[in-house]
Symmetry: C2
Subunit: 284 residues, 2 copies
Amino acid sequence: MLKVPEHQVAGRQAIDGKLGPLIDNSGHFYKPLQDDDERGTRELTFYHSFSSNTRIPHHIRRFFPVFHGTQLLKASDRSGLRPHLVLQDITSDHLNPSILDIKIGSRTWYLEASNDYIQNCFHRDKTTTTVSLGFRICGLQIYNESGFWKPGRKLVRNFTADDVRSVLRKFVSSNVGPEPDCCFAGSVYGGCDGILERLLELKTWFEDQTMYHFRSCSVLLLFDKESFLRGKTPFAEVKLIDFAHVVDGNGVIDHNFLGGLCSFIKFVSQVLADSKGSTMEDKI
Amino acid sequence: MLKVPEHQVAGRQAIDGKLGPLIDNSGHFYKPLQDDDERGTRELTFYHSFSSNTRIPHHIRRFFPVFHGTQLLKASDRSGLRPHLVLQDITSDHLNPSILDIKIGSRTWYLEASNDYIQNCFHRDKTTTTVSLGFRICGLQIYNESGFWKPGRKLVRNFTADDVRSVLRKFVSSNVGPEPDCCFAGSVYGGCDGILERLLELKTWFEDQTMYHFRSCSVLLLFDKESFLRGKTPFAEVKLIDFAHVVDGNGVIDHNFLGGLCSFIKFVSQVLADSKGSTMEDKI
């Protein structure tokens, strides 16, 4: 039985008769291929290329959803059968996951795109944190005792640098009020299995790989606060998603993604450093 | 006695009665402050801030020309007295230096600039290698036995990725023909005092510093082929120049410069790796 994903925080959603992704109970995520432009074809081409590419190190493959090919399915907009990408549902192992969707790069357009597309992106990039920070938060949900804090798209789009800092603090806090306690920062961002270490792994690969340029691609951070509260092993994940605008790297590193990733890493590091500082002060 | 710099490869030049920098015989470089826009003021503000900033590590300060304040001098366009920045002439210690001037970053405009300025930069960035490679070569001169190879501005502006690779090979070759021998690659780009090591040092700083954003700033590579040929110690340098568009970092790393720098580092690494490969093959 297919259903609308419960934990989707950005992108097109299969609600109100619109076209969007679906999930099943076996951990699959079905993403409809767009037929009105090249996006669908480009994303499918990427998954085919990536899954058969022997130059992708094993530890890097883990950052990508598993690809299970395509399948004809009844589209969510009731327009009939349509090919869907069959991907791993990366939220299926999580109970009430807190999620951040961060579009990486200080430019979302690319030279191969149409003029209209470039102008739209150019305007959006200037009026969000994309140009200033090298990334922007596209969507989020943060779990707390009373449910999810999931600000609306308009609010998210208007985030400033300070809002981004605040969200990164709230993500690893037991509270989402004006003074987040950052009590999970050490275990979620820090440590050898933490998000910061994963992001640094990704950075090292991007300093070298010249095969793909990941335009308009997101880094998804997932973390399961409830497991922590129940004393279970930390289970924080970093995944790349959305490859509808991936283009050939042509032997050049993806400096746009890499620069943005470094900026994001600095933001995460600062939250981690500040949280250590405050813990030290608390002890004194 | 002030004169026009012999080794200027990019920027405004003090020729044909135009306004441009001058040098003396004591190793000083006099850069006129523009009075038609904010560039001069911004560059002066940067030098004042940077030279008194105690958070700049000693090994990073070496990448910047020494600043000796300002001085009123007769301008090269004969418009009378005008304030000039008094800087270190970084070419003065070199005999026939080969020079590359590389404007770093995949975007030369910045949010604080005027709309006209942004549109001009946007167009230039798209039509040069700035967007595609994250940097562009702005000017160069490469010394060889018959003198300097110094392609004109129009030619340089039309450089493709392959032209850039070719220039980086010619820079460390004894010849500038279609098959450069890269015979100086190991000593100029490689080694613990080589250009690659210096660029990596710079990269490490840019991964951390959030004080300045270096828009439209150049990395200058200098290297003295003749000294090599005479059996002298290698003397390759990396310097940052042109700070007329430096803006406050506001606590965010300069992801635009960093991304471009990483891309440039990859290009240099590839020339070095290829030259090692060919040396190995030659030996077999």
